[in-house]
Amino acid sequence: CRCRALLSRPARRLRARRGLAAGPEMHFGFQTVTEEERREKIYQVFESVAKKYDVMNDSMTLGIHRVWKDILMHKMNPSPGTLLLDVAGGTGDIAFRFINYVRSVRERQLQRKLKHHQNLSWQEIFESYQKDKFNSLGDSQAVVCDINREMLKVGKQKAQHLGYSEGLSWVLGNAEELPFDNDKFDVYTIAFGIRNVTRIDLALQEAYRVLKPGGRFLCLEFSHVSNPLLSRLYDLYSFQVIPVLGEVIAGDWKSYQYLVESIRRFPPQEELKTMIEDAGFFKVDYENLNFGIVAIHSGFKL
């Protein structure tokens, strides 16, 4: 039954593809390609999905991706003055949440300060308002870095549309070779991006490099469901429904077929934990969301 063939996807050894050029072989979903080909194909996937990225995320996850991202932000619990690097941040979801979060923390800070200023003269109160008003973010900054121009474009447009201006910068860059100095950032996040990086080890090394000592690495990514019943339902949904959604909503079956295949190919929780430790991070830990459909990995640079 063709249905079964599409459901059961066995893990595959990398095999030589006929007539292929030189270069180490890797997976692109369930295909076997060279490293260069993989980067190229993934770039094209995101170029093609950029405009409908957010709509598709909402449809595929029934809006639950928003909750996952909120949880990530709560786990991060950034205080005003934090410098965040969001890699593969394309359309800005994490960066916007970060700004909202520090803004509300800042507001509460200011309110508490004001409560203690009951005995000041009107002049002094006025002055303190002025000072703090221009500091609604408390010097927090979010840098959004993405390898794909189209995704960044969509992100910038969204920022304008939603009214985000201060505290945000947009940088074109490759997670495997970040255009930043060492020891720069307080927090490094990569949400649903590391799966698309061709050399995950390099990306992790770069993450370590650009973080300040004491900085935190956070990774939100699709992971593996161990519960067998849930796993079958998840597979059914992934392989039967998601490409259809891709075709109907975005007119693009193939990119979403790639998406669900790439999720199956990505290392499971423990393996990713080891990779993060190998890059030098300490206190590496992960939290499963929705039974492992998604996992947040965290590590510290000491």
Binding site: Q240, V244, E247
Partner: protein
């Protein structure tokens, strides 16, 4: 473990023709439902109309193919598999043909409505390579239908052609398009549609022989009127 099995496993697809995406019955059902909704919601999504046609044509397409097989000209077409594309059409020659000839009127239609035969979607979800050609042929011949019926490419014209095609091909996508298309028309147009155009389209569709059995590429010189008569299409109102 033959070489062929390895090849299939390697690709992961059972691709029957370039562009083919194999789908399970569940996927086809979901696609049919989804594309129907999307096509109604956003009529500019021509790709959705195409997908709807492919996923619901499992009865009508073999029927059409058999009609073609049992007709000498249709059989010829199935053998040679001609394609109507800008690259295969001799535009200069067709433009030079006398007014009223199929070739001349077809070019006039393309120019007036600013359309091109190259914008037809190639089939993706048909699981039989011959049937994929049949639906491709149906799509490429659609503009010729407009020419033969004398209908423009506005909403009204498209609906009329859909009625004709629904009767001729039995494709559920045509039936749905014919039934739901009018929802987007004004009442005045609906009146014209209901009283004159649709009855004519249905009568012609029923009376005419199968339009896919005509090797149009060999008949560019033939006058449109003569072709209409030969097929059994009544003159447009």
């Amino acid at each position: 473990r033959g070489g062929e099995e390895e090849e299939e496993e390697e690709e992961g697809w059972h691709q029957l023709y370039p562009g083919h995406i194999p789908t399970s019955p569940l996927q086809k059902a979901l696609l049919a439902a989804g594309s129907a909704v999307m096509a109604l919601y956003d009529p500019y999504r021509h790709d959705m109309v195409a997908v709807l046609g492919e996923t619901t044509g499992c009865l009508a397409l073999p029927n059409l193919r058999d009609k073609m097989k049992n007709h000498p000209e249709g059989y010829h077409i199935l053998q040679e598999r001609p394609r109507i594309r800008l690259s295969t059409l001799d535009m200069a020659r067709l433009q030079g043909l006398p007014d009223g000839s199929l070739g001349r009127e077809y070019i006039r239609f393309l120019e007036d409505n600013k359309v091109s035969p190259d914008t037809r979607m190639p089939p993706k979800f048909v699981d039989d390579e011959e049937l994929a050609y049949v639906i491709q042929r149906y799509r490429e011949v659609h503009d010729l239908m407009h020419t033969l019926l004398g209908m423009p490419t506005n909403m009204l014209g498209e609906v009329v052609v859909k009625w004709f095609e629904a009767v001729q091909t039995g494709l559920p996508m045509c039936v749905l398009g014919a039934a739901f298309g009018p929802l987007r028309l004004s009442t005045r147009k609906l009146q014209v549609l209901a009283t004159e155009l649709v009855p004519w389209a249905i009568r012609s569709g029923l009376n005419a022989s199968c339009v896919l059995n005509v090797y149009y590429e060999q008949r560019w010189e033939q006058p449109v009127e003569s072709l209409r008569e030969e097929l059994g299409i009544f003159p447009p109102p």
